[in-house]
């Protein structure tokens, strides 16, 4: 039976001269489940890194004590840590699909992970445990998988493999650092159930997790919830019937925001700060047809023997969009939803079919002048905002360059930028910084601002809610709503996501993409007649977190 006692007085970052953590004190008992919730920047990951010894003493100054079974972890040396890390304390990182080493075979990595954690284990035990874990995580086991390299697996399989690496071996203390953003919904549900099972069976003694999403944290039914704000533990609560009743003002507003996001997809009213609002009416049926996509196929140029050859990602996709209508595109990662968006926005080549935007028609290899008008009307919000800025220029210059390219009035663009950055709670000088000086969430907001300059007739948003906190998500939802209801030039939007729940509240229609083909087309608010297994799994995942009732 092990226990962890953390009493960190202060954790100071020397370079930026900021106090990141203040008086964080908590204790774990065996068979307990703890969750740390809070917004990004509150210091949750720093707390974990401090406890696990990943912080550089030259950059960080930590005062306090971390005692694990009466061992002072802050004073531990490298050799001693090797007896603890991996064997008694394990750590599930943020992006499990990146946790897999692309240079080794799958079987080798799994066996190594198990042998390091439990030395002296027999080979039959090893293969038995690996097989059961792979079956539990729904990776098709057998010799095929074990002798493959990670580059030959699909993205969903990679995510499951990353989870398997950490969750294979038993441990006393497991730290889970919000992997939820980077997992498909089905994988997420499997992970949550696996965590609950492992703790029930005694494989994991104590579970400590981080989440910025209160909905997921409450699904986990933890014993204690610690609310962190700006490095300080504000409150400690237990959950009741799946709801965490925070008492502090901040906690209450956080809980309300989470509830709003969850229930806004339900049919009926939406409450915003106590004021009931009618759900925005769908686009009227006599609205103009904005976009018609007919039988398009797209992909990329892969490496052929002498010359590059075409690799098809999406095949024969057809859909349409009216003015002022929001469409949701749901699919697992790597199945082609981003490719669809890129193709419509004319960022990648169209291999087949045609696209009709307004009164312009585009086929394979269209004219340059028309393409320019196409680009002015459609804006694309990229999935990975971090690398979508020129690293050698300031953010403001980046934005103005895009505005110039879209032939916008520069003064108006400047005014829009300042207005939008105030709306998204960005300080004035943050727009003047270089991309590497901003955090992920700030860059995401800047990317949103860039795609909303104009405003465009059609916005294709690829995972717009990634890296955003609840309050900012609500702001974005409100802004999209306002733009949708604009008289004269209502904005349409295609929302691409791997999570059904986050787009249900906004979109009138939802399409599903599986293996590059369109497999389902539904209207929200109406009864869904689901026949396809994949769509069913999405629906079930959204239901278990509470997005669908």
């Amino acid at each position: 039976m092990s226990s962890l006692k953390v009493e960190i007085e202060s954790c100071f970052h020397r370079k930026s001269e900021r106090l990141i953590l203040r008086e964080v004190k908590f204790e774990t008992t065996p068979n307990q489940r703890i969750a740390f919730v809070g917004e990004s920047g509150a210091g949750k990951t720093v707390l974990f890194n401090a406890v696990l010894g990943f912080l550089d003493p030259a950059e960080w100054e930590i005062m306090g004590s971390v005692r694990f079974n009466d061992i002072e972890l802050l004073q531990y040396g490298i050799k001693e840590w090797e007896t603890i890390r991996g064997r008694q304390i394990r750590y599930l990182l943020q992006n499990p699909s990146l946790a897999v080493n692309p240079g080794f075979k799958v079987g080798y990595q799994l066996e190594e992970a198990l042998e390091v954690a439990s030395p002296g284990i027999s080979p039959t035990e090893v293969s038995g445990q690996i097989r059961s874990m792979l079956k539990r995580l729904r990776l098709d086991s057998g010799d095929h998988l074990m002798s493959r390299y990670p580059s030959q697996l699909s993205k969903g399989q990679l995510q499951r493999l990353g989870l398997a690496l950490t969750l294979l071996a038993p441990c006393k203390l497991l730290f889970v650092d919000e992997p939820f953003n980077f997992l498909d919904s089905t994988v997420l549900i499997d992970l949550l159930e696996l965590l609950k099972e492992s703790q029930a069976s005694g494989k994991i003694e104590t579970l400590v997790m981080i989440s910025h999403d209160l909905n997921i944290a409450s699904v986990m039914n933890c014993d204690q919830y610690y609310l962190l704000q700006e490095g300080r533990i504000i409150e400690k609560q237990e959950s009741l019937h799946g709801k965490i009743l925070f008492r502090s003002q901040y906690g209450k507003s956080l809980q309300e925001a989470a509830t709003f996001l969850r229930t806004s997809s339900h049919a009926g009213k939406r409450k915003v700060n106590g004021i009931g609002e009618r759900r925005s009416p769908p686009a009227s049926d006599n609205a103009k047809q904005l976009l018609v996509v007919d039988g398009i196929s797209s992909g990329y140029w892969g490496k052929g023997t002498l010359f590059p050859k075409r690799v098809m990602v999406i095949r024969n996709v057809s859909m349409d969009l009216k003015e002022g209508e929001f469409l949701g595109v749901i699919g697992n990662s790597g199945e082609g939803k981003s490719t669809l968006g890129l193709c419509i926005a004319d960022i990648i080549e169209l291999f087949d079919g045609h696209i009709q935007f307004g009164d312009m028609r585009f086929e394979k290899g269209g004219h340059g002048e028309d393409k320019k008008r196409l680009r002015n009307g459609i804006h694309y919000l990229v999935q990975d905002a971090a690398s979508s800025f020129d690293p050698a220029q300031r953010i403001l210059d980046n934005l103005m360059e895009c505005a110039k390219g879209s032939s916008l009035d520069l003064a108006k663009a400047q005014a829009q930028i300042s207005r939008l950055s105030k709306y998204f709670l960005l300080e004035g000088e943050e727009v003047q910084k270089f991309p590497h000086q901003l955090s992920g969430g700030q860059k995401q907001r800047c990317a949103i601002i860039r795609s909303l300059l104009g405003p465009p007739k059609l916005l294709i948003a690829d995972e717009p809610f990634a890296h955003l906190d609840v309050f900012l998500q609500i702001r974005l939802i409100r802004l999209l709503d306002v733009l949708k209801k604009q008289k004269g030039c209502p904005m349409s939007c295609i929302l691409i996501s791997h999570d059904l729940g986050s787009v249900l509240g906004l979109c009138e229609r939802i399409v599903f993409i599986h293996n590059g083909r369109l497999v389902g087309h539904f209207r929200t608010g109406a009864e869904w007649n689901i026949l396809n297994d994949t769509i069913k799994s999405f629906y079930e995942a959204a239901r278990s977190i509470g997005y669908v009732c």
Binding site: N376, H379, D384, P391, C402
Partner: protein, 347 residues
């Protein structure tokens, strides 16, 4: 803390300036000995310029400043040799034969085996080496950037042609190519087929060295541009309607490739100094008088000084050009590292 150290350095540099500059140039005409007058003119003007450059650099990067200090001898030699060309070349036909004199008052650094004044031949040789390295670097950079840009073009035929050209110069060992070029040139001039002026020789050798150094720049450019084109921001800019040429020239080349290119060019300068001095060394040893044509550079001086190294006496003959070469190479490498560090810090 950092700013106070910088301020200290700046003030000490100002004192140095004060130390170096108080002799107004007009006062120099009172120096009796013509030789000393020329030396002091040269030294003062170069040092003033140098200190001015240094004071703006030293605050930003210590490595670059250290590199510039090490490069000072070569730049000084080159500038002096071009300010006073007749003076230093005239001195070569010295009346002293076969007498090796250690450093003394008349000949500041002594004389070598053929009786030349070492200081003068080092200055002249430094000028020649610098010019050769500079022109080779220019040729290599210009042609290399062109080749690099062609290597990433979308047209497959252009790519294959550019690739094969760059690979030929990657494969051909530079020494073989250069010996062939210089050997053929010298042998033709020896047989009086045509007169080999120094300009022709410099041009031909610089072209040859530049050609064999093309792959360094071309591959760097290819690697950088390919990795940048993969990045998201290029797709985003193109999607916003910025023209392809503008994205390529402004965003990719000017803003992102240029700093890395600058760093590589400073490494390339050191490399060309090595190549050039090795070539001259080899020509002296391999071809002896047959390949010289009266051309002096640090490489030839070092080859002449072989006797002193082998027998271990009169070591100053080897020391001076040797130190010059080492300092130059170290200096350019340090400048390159300093630029790399600044670039990485910004990342």
């Amino acid at each position: 803390m950092r700013t106070s150290v910088n301020r200290f350095l700046l003030s000490s540099l100002k004192i140095l300036m004060l130390f170096l500059s108080p002799i107004p140039l007009s006062l120099l005409k009172f120096v009796p000995d013509e030789r000393w007058r020329i030396y002091l003119y040269a030294w003062t003007s170069i040092s003033l310029l140098f200190v001015l450059v240094m004071s703006s650099v030293v605050a930003r990067s210590k490595l670059v400043a250290a590199g510039l200090i090490l490069l000072y001898p070569m730049i000084a030699c080159a500038t002096v040799a071009s300010i006073f060309p007749r003076y230093f070349s005239a001195e070569i036909n010295s009346i002293f034969f076969d007498r090796v004199i250690p450093p003394n008052y008349i000949h500041i650094l002594g004389t070598d085996f053929t009786g030349r004044d070492i200081l003068h031949s080092v200055i002249l040789g430094g000028g020649n080496t610098y010019h050769m390295a500079f022109y080779s670097t220019c040729v290599a950079t210009i042609l290399g950037v062109l080749a690099g840009v062609l290597l990433v073009s979308n047209n497959h035929i252009v790519k294959i042609v550019a690739n094969s050209l760059v690979e030929v110069f990657e494969i051909f060992p530079w020494l073989f190519l250069l010996i062939l070029v210089v050997g053929v040139l010298n042998m033709r001039s020896q047989q009086s087929v045509f007169f080999l002026s120094e300009e022709t020789r410099t041009a031909a050798v610089a072209l040859a060295i530049g050609l064999s150094c093309i792959p360094v720049i071309a591959r760097l450019l290819q690697r950088l541009i390919e990795s940048l084109c993969e990045k998201e921001f290029v797709k985003t800019l193109l999607a916003s309607g910025v023209s392809r040429t503008k994205v390529f020239v402004y965003n990719i080349i000017w803003k992102n490739v240029f700093p890395d290119l600058l760093m590589q060019v400073s490494f390339l300068f050191g490399l060309t100094v090595i190549i050039d001095s090795s070539l001259d060394f080899m020509m002296e040893i391999g071809f002896g008088d047959y390949g010289k044509g009266g051309y002096i550079s640090w490489g030839t001086l070092l080859a002449d000084a072989r006797q002193s190294a082998i027998f271990g006496k009169d070591l100053w003959i080897v020391l001076v050009p040797g130190i010059g070469v080492v300092f130059t190479i170290l200096g350019t490498n340090l400048i390159g590292e300093g630029l790399a560090l600044e670039h990485k810090v910004r990342d």
